[in-house]
């Protein structure tokens, strides 16, 4: 059995890297980490065309698709377009996140209450500009070891 430790990073597909990096860095507060296809060596090895961004302790590689992807309906804010990424924030910052999204005209659904026995408190749901579904939530037991922290080591 493969003794997997944790999820390390995700490559998600986007239609526009500038638009994607603006969304994840300037609206969600991520940090630009790395980008490909700027050097001859990248072209000679045919590496994927991506920019990576670190959100809290997780790395997303925004990868440009060679073809247009089917987009979820405009009005659908909650769902899984193949998958959905859920990120945690402390409960004290949950309101700030909503204000930031509203300030940048990012539509979201929620806050939605989770069941009483769920480790989650509330969630909001929205999409990035390429239709990738996202969720931001707060945990009832902040600082607990319920979810092991990931480490980032991607080269």
């Amino acid at each position: 059995m493969a003794a997997l430790e944790s999820l390390n990073h995700t490559a998600i597909c986007v239609h526009d890297l500038a638009e994607g990096m603006d969304f994840y860095c300037n609206i969600l507060g991520g940090t630009a980490h790395q980008r490909s296809n700027y050097e001859i060596e990248d072209t000679s090895t045919g590496i994927a065309i991506f920019h990576s961004v670190i959100l809290e302790d997780y790395l997303l590689a925004l990868t440009v698709t060679a073809n247009y992807m089917p987009m979820p309906p405009d009005g659908q804010l909650r769902g899984a377009h193949g998958f959905r990424h859920g990120f945690c924030v402390p409960r004290s910052r949950f309101e700030d996140v909503q204000q930031s999204l509203a300030k940048h005209d990012v539509q979201f659904e929620g806050p939605v209450d989770h069941p009483e026995k769920s480790p989650f408190g509330q969630s909001i749901y929205f999409k990035d500009p390429s239709g990738n579904f996202l969720e931001i939530l707060w945990l009832k037991e902040e600082g607990s070891q319920t979810f092991k922290r990931r480490y980032i080591h991607v080269e």
């Binding site: 500038a18 980490h33 296809n37 050097e39 001859i40 073809n67 992807m69």
Partner: protein, 316 residues
């Protein structure tokens, strides 16, 4: 792959590049080039003007007062399969006049699908007698009447880079040149590349390329992709940085003056600030050197960008 987005040096404080002062273009036959640029493109010949560090050359001027120095290099070999070219801005009327003259001279004109929005309208390309690729960018110019030149201005020049990240750091961050456009960041670019491979789109050399698949994936056909391009502004002109598709020979490290070269127009204070920055950061440069080319060009600072392209900063 670029290892990080870390900057190499702080931006230069309080500087501004006002535009392109002149470009130095290599030609292998000076007389033929002079005749072509005057007779076909309608540049004005500045017979009394000599620009420093251009070797044996002839100076032409656009209606806006920018100069093009045709510099003799008998061994010059153009790079026709790369993105290297110079774009000149002309009015629709001037464009037609030039096209008529090209037809009369039996010079083939090419039209391509453009990715950079500013070049989309009525673009056309052709080659000068030395094999330099030229582009006409159509604009409603009014300056052409001023000195009789058909060409309003230098619209853009292009250089190659083995690492566009370094170019972005140098031009966009350290020299504070605003980014005009980036090619290779959008799905639309790759959809276009696919159409190009299928023969459904005609693209200028250097715009698209065929990559082999990621090195661990064997036996698959080359993948069509957009070639990375970065366009940065200098006044109303642009410098286009094209990712080179193969490694190229760079000038010797100790050589700071050469051709081809693009010269940026800056104020005296900006020139001093740029020179001080290069000295402080160890970026090799020569100058500022005083000369008397014209009242607008009395001091020059020579250097290379981070990919070995010769550049110059010119101030009054």
């Amino acid at each position: 792959m670029s290892n990080s987005l870390a900057a190499t040096a702080d931006p230069i404080a309080d500087i501004k590049l006002d535009g392109i002062s002149h470009i130095a273009v290599k030609v292998d036959d000076l007389a033929a080039a002079r005749d072509f640029y005057r007779g076909v493109l309608g540049f004005s010949l500045e017979s009394g003007l000599s620009l420093p560090e251009c070797g044996q050359h002839a100076v032409l001027s656009t209606a806006s007062g920018q100069h093009v120095a045709l510099c003799l290099d008998a061994g010059f070999a153009p790079l026709p399969d790369t993105g290297i070219h110079n774009g000149y801005r002309v009015s629709p009327q001037a464009r037609q006049t030039i096209l008529d003259r090209l037809a009369k001279e039996n010079i083939e004109v090419f039209s391509y699908r453009e990715i950079r929005p500013a070049e989309a309208a009525e673009n056309c390309y052709f080659y000068d007698p030395s094999g330099n690729r030229l582009q006409l960018v159509c604009a409603d110019g009014t300056a052409a009447a001023a000195n009789g030149s058909l060409v309003d201005a230098i619209d853009h020049v292009t250089v190659q880079a083995s690492d566009v990240h370094w170019s972005e750091d140098f031009y966009a961050r350290r020299l504070a040149m605003p980014i005009d456009a980036v090619v290779g960041w959008r799905t639309a670019d790759y959809v276009l590349a696919k159409r190009w491979k299928e023969g459904a789109e005609s693209m200028a050399p250097g715009q698209m390329r065929l990559d082999k698949r990621y090195s661990t994936i064997h036996g698959t056909d080359p993948v069509p992709r957009a070639n990375m391009q970065l366009f940065v502004k200098a006044g109303d002109a642009c410098v286009g940085v094209y990712l080179a598709t193969r490694h190229f020979q760079m000038p010797p490290e100790e050589l700071q003056i050469g051709t081809p070269r693009v010269a940026f127009r800056v104020s005296r204070n900006s020139l001093k600030a740029i020179a001080a920055h290069f000295k402080e950061t160890g970026h090799a440069a020569e100058g500022p050197i005083a000369h008397s080319a014209s009242p607008q060009a009395r001091h020059s600072l020579y250097t290379k960008d981070t990919n070995g392209n010769f550049i110059e900063f010119v101030s009054p």
